[in-house]
């Protein structure tokens, strides 16, 4: 999925990129008379790890390009600001994408569910108090030290300006303060007592310089244009224009001891493409090293001899991390009936979505808000999901409607209790390829059983406004993925009554405005559960209520991030046979920046 952005790149910068790439490619081609790729064994016979899924590696680039990592899939438009607080911050200043310029206090590992050290070398939870101890000798890229005071100041901007994204921290925490230069103490909100949510936010929000932030008026924090960002990360911003964002390695990076050295690449270039198609073409041609885009039938790239790879070597190739939802607007006549919602959930051909729209990258979904794989699997109740859930069965779906007294009209559409089931529009942003195709399948599935659903793919901003404002019929949208506080965060996103807003007012959870009197207590109980057994018990109750009411239903398991690489210049990428890091860009995914190896030496 992508935002298509049309831009007018300057010819000079285009020539620069083309020159670097073409020059590198030409030099690489000239440097050897052999083919463009090898079999993953060096001249010494040592087997290389983290190579293409077909065992192939490229010959490596030479010159400047040999020390450059080309990355794509994060920035689709002209980078206007590198202000972390801005909702339109450019990569990599945009929240929680890659710890290149800015870093978070803690890091999350999607594979193990582990919360790992970041700027904080340790954290301790004592009841509703979390104490973090900072790493030694942290400095910003301008050479000034980064202390616990910078950490606390950054997070406290959310208290001063509730319009900032970081303000969400204070939904889960009461206070954050630096008791000395190395210690930060956080008091968890005593009502929600949601320690997991606080830890999650510590893995997602960057620490910034107090000296810089304090010079910006509080009400301008989100709108200030910053073109020379100063962070603690291993890279600084080189240049940024309509064609690319270039990061330069900070050789004075504080973390070279912590990570065992500096990043392997001296610069990272993110070319800016119009959409997935352009990025995928460059990836397949070996002009990108690592990518985060949806690529239909990615296996064809390595079957065609390219040294491309994914974390998993067989389907689904990616680690499931997200659960896009079909969101029902429960205020609309017809959709306010849980029988209709269950009939729709039962008529969807989930297998077709997984196999075709998702290119086989998803297992068929379960009727649950808990991912049945990975860190959340310990909370998944398969027996209850099977007994009280739903699965694709068009006849059973239609029977639900007829059993409830629905009658089919001459147009083939059912009417239930005097309400015609449709016409309803199913919206999702245009250009989100896999989601658009999923919606097409859902609409056809509904029509097949007598529910009038048509797709509509508006621009992303318009769609976001409709979903958040509750002015839609049906929407295909995302909720919380896998993170340190999931699956609680997902239950909260789907079922929350506290965060529900009136129609027309933007809301960030319970988009369908589903009302229920018992769920708040269940959510609180789940948030406060301290051990896995009590958590599972709470999640069982929440999931049972969810299966009864179905305010949303999952359509696929999507990777949290599409992690795909091309071993054209580097190898030793993390994969299922080389598990030193998770297949991530955010959080603990930064480890691979330090561990990659150059093919050309």
């Amino acid at each position: 999925m992508s935002d298509s952005v049309f831009f007018n790149p300057s010819r000079r910068s285009l020539f620069k990129v083309a020159g670097v790439v073409a020059g590198g490619a030409a030099l690489a081609a000239c440097s050897s008379s052999k083919g463009a790729s090898g079999n993953g064994s060096g001249d010494t016979g040592e087997a290389k790890k983290g190579v293409g899924n077909n065992g192939q590696v490229g010959k490596g680039r030479t010159g400047t390009a040999a020390d450059t990592l080309f990355i794509a899939g994060f920035q689709w438009g002209n980078p206007t600001t590198f202000n972390v607080m801005s909702p339109t911050a450019a990569w990599p200043a945009s929240s929680n994408v890659l710890q290149a310029i800015f870093e978070t206090p803690l890091r999350w590992n999607i594979l193990t569910g582990e919360i790992m050290p970041g700027l904080a070398k340790s954290y301790k939870v004592d009841g509703l108090t979390i104490t973090l101890t900072m790493q030694d000798n942290i400095t910003f890229s301008d050479g000034t030290p980064c202390t616990a005071k910078d950490f606390a100041y950054t997070y406290n901007t959310g208290k001063a300006n509730p319009g900032l994204a970081i303000a969400a921290f204070f939904n889960a925490a009461e206070s954050i303060e630096a008791t000395d230069d190395k210690t930060v103490v956080i008091k968890v909100d005593s009502t929600s007592k949601n320690v997991g949510q606080v830890l999650r936010l510590l893995t997602e929000n960057y620490v910034q310089s107090q000296a810089i932030l304090s010079k910006i008026a509080t009400d301008k924090l989100a709108t200030e244009i910053i073109s020379a960002p100063v962070g603690t990360g291993p890279f600084t911003l080189g240049t940024a224009d309509q064609t690319q964002v270039v990061l330069k390695r900070n050789d004075k990076y504080w973390g070279k001891d912590f990570y065992g050295g500096l990043p392997v690449m001296s610069q990272i270039i993110h070319p800016i493409f119009k959409g997935n198609e352009d990025a995928n073409l460059k990836f397949a041609n070996g002009e990108l090293d690592i990518c985060q885009t949806f690529q239909s039938q990615i296996w064809k790239t390595w079957e065609g001899g390219k040294p491309t790879g994914t974390y998993l070597k067989d389907k689904p190739y990616y680690i499931p991390g997200g659960m896009p939802m079909l969101v029902f607007n429960c205020t609309k006549p017809g959709l306010d009936n849980p029988i209709v919602r269950k009939a729709i959930a039962s008529c969807i051909d989930y297998g077709a979505i997984s196999e075709t729209a998702m290119s086989g990258y998803s297992a068929t979904v379960q009727p649950s808000l808990i991912l049945p794989t990975g860190a959340e699997s310990k909370f998944f109740n398969q027996a209850d999901a099977t007994a009280n859930g739903w699965k694709f069965d068009a006849k059973a779906a239609e029977k639900m409607l007829t059993d409830a007294g629905a009658t089919k009209g001459s147009d083939g559409i059912y009417t239930l209790n005097g309400t015609r089931l449709g016409p309803w529009k199913l919206i999702t942003p245009t250009g989100w390829t896999d989601w658009n195709a999923s919606c097409d399948i859902i609409a056809k599935s509904c029509k097949a059983i007598g529910i009038d659903v048509a797709t509509n793919f508006p621009q992303q901003a318009e769609c976001t406004q409709a979903i958040q404002g509750g002015t839609f019929d049906l929407g295909h949208w995302y909720v919380s993925g896998v993170n340190p506080s999931s699956p609680w965060a997902r239950f909260d996103d789907v079922l929350s009554q506290d965060k529900m807003k009136p129609i027309g007012t933007p809301g960030f959870a319970n988009y369908g405005r589903w009302k229920n009197s018992e769920v708040t207590a269940l959510l609180t109980a789940a948030a406060q559960a301290t051990d896995d057994a009590s958590k599972k018990s709470a999640y069982d109750k929440l999931d049972a209520l969810y299966r009864k009411e179905i305010p949303m239903c999952p359509t696929m398991y999507r990777p949290d991030e599409f992690y795909e690489y091309a071993a054209v210049n580097f190898y030793n990428f993390p994969d299922a046979n080389n598990t030193y890091a998770p297949p991530m860009f955010r959080g603990a995914g930064n480890t691979w920046m330090y561990k990659l190896k150059k093919i050309a030496g």
């Binding site: 198609e277 239909s296 039938q297 196999e355 075709t356 290119s359 658009n436 097409d440 609409a443 508006p458």
Partner: protein
């Protein structure tokens, strides 16, 4: 002064250099047989009829439906499914037949609507003249000045939000194309109607008490018939292409197969990059054939309706050239004799 030999003149009359398009009266031939259906028309009609038959009758005998999932994402062609599957796992041939049918229906609806609007505005402006002409042509010129594709995209996006059933289907798209494609027809028809309006038979019709609508339909429109038919054929072609453009941009009607939608999904699911030619090549070829055959038909109709553009067969042209040469020689001999005698 010289005279042309009678024999030469007789030959010219009997065998004109260019085959006669209008048979002598009283030969009892149906009127349509007097038209010159050249090879261009035969080829274009054959292509159109073949495509239409496949589109409208093909689905009745083809064993797979367009919404039937018979495979996976871009399964390669097999003996059972000659063009493999598309990104939804549907049989490409089946989808192609339905897509072609819908595209043709869309073209017919949109082309006819555009023609009706264009002819109505053009004939009124051309015949009535005065401020009516100024107003109608002023409005037409404004519409012409706005880039067509922008209007198409904006109206298509607006219609996607409507709850009116007609506008959500292929009829809605045809309506959008129809109401934006008429200006050039209106301008051309207006010029023709202005010319016809000055002819004597119009005065006679007026003197005989005929009302304006009657004059427009009975005395003006028949004189524009040939042009209207050609304009309609061109409108069909452009409407089908416009539908494909909009659908390829993702602005086509929801859940409706069309040639443009096939290309849209093929691009979205990287059929080109993954070498799945069967997903994008067939709709492209059908689209090309439809456009080509309609444009070819229009060109051949132009020849039928406009004698100056007619082209004979090579052997007829050769015979005519030989006759002219013979006549010239005879004339030259005659002149020589006259000079000797004088």
């Amino acid at each position: 002064m010289s005279t042309i030999p009678q024999a030469a003149l007789t030959e010219e009359v009997i065998e004109p250099p260019v085959p006669s398009q209008t048979p002598a009266p009283g030969k009892n031939k149906p009127a349509w047989m007097s038209l010159n259906f050249g090879p261009r028309m035969i080829v274009s009609l054959a292509i159109i009829i073949t495509i239409a038959l496949l589109a409208f009758l093909g689905p009745l005998i083809y064993p797979y439906g367009p919404g039937e999932k018979i495979g996976s994402l871009y399964d390669e062609p097999t003996a059972q499914h000659l063009l493999g599957t598309d990104n939804f796992g549907h049989d490409v041939i089946s989808v192609l037949m339905f897509s072609t049918r819908n595209s043709l229906i869309n073209g017919l609806m949109a082309g006819t609507l555009a023609l009706l609007i264009g002819v109505t505005i053009g004939i009124l402006a051309g015949y009535v003249g005065g401020w009516v002409e100024e107003a109608l042509m002023g409005f037409t010129n404004i519409v012409v000045a706005i880039p067509n594709i922008i209007i198409l995209i904006l109206i298509s996006m607006a219609l996607q939000k409507t709850d009116i059933g007609f506008f959500k289907g292929i009829g809605g798209l045809a309506f959008v194309i129809g109401i934006t494609a008429w200006p050039w027809t209106a301008r051309a028809v207006r010029a023709q109607a202005s010319s016809v309006a000055t002819r004597e038979h119009i005065d006679i019709a007026k003197l005989s008490g005929a009302r304006t609508p009657s004059i427009l339909v009975r005395d003006v429109l028949p004189y524009l018939a040939s042009y209207v038919v050609m304009a309609w054929v061109l409108q069909l072609a452009s409407a089908i292409l416009a539908e494909s453009t909009l659908s390829m941009l993702g602005l086509g009607p929801s859940g409706v197969d069309s040639l443009g939608m096939q290309l849209h999904w093929a691009l979205a699911f990287q059929a080109v990059a993954t070498g799945s030619w069967w997903a994008f090549l067939p709709p492209t070829i059908v689209l090309t054939l439809i456009s080509f055959s309609l444009l070819y038909l229009q060109a051949s109709l132009d020849e039928v309706f406009n004698p100056r553009l007619r082209r004979g067969k090579k052997k007829d042209l050769a015979k005519a050239a030989a006759r002219r040469a013979k006549a010239a020689r005879a004339l030259a001999e005659q002149n020589t004799k006259v000079e000797v005698l004088s």
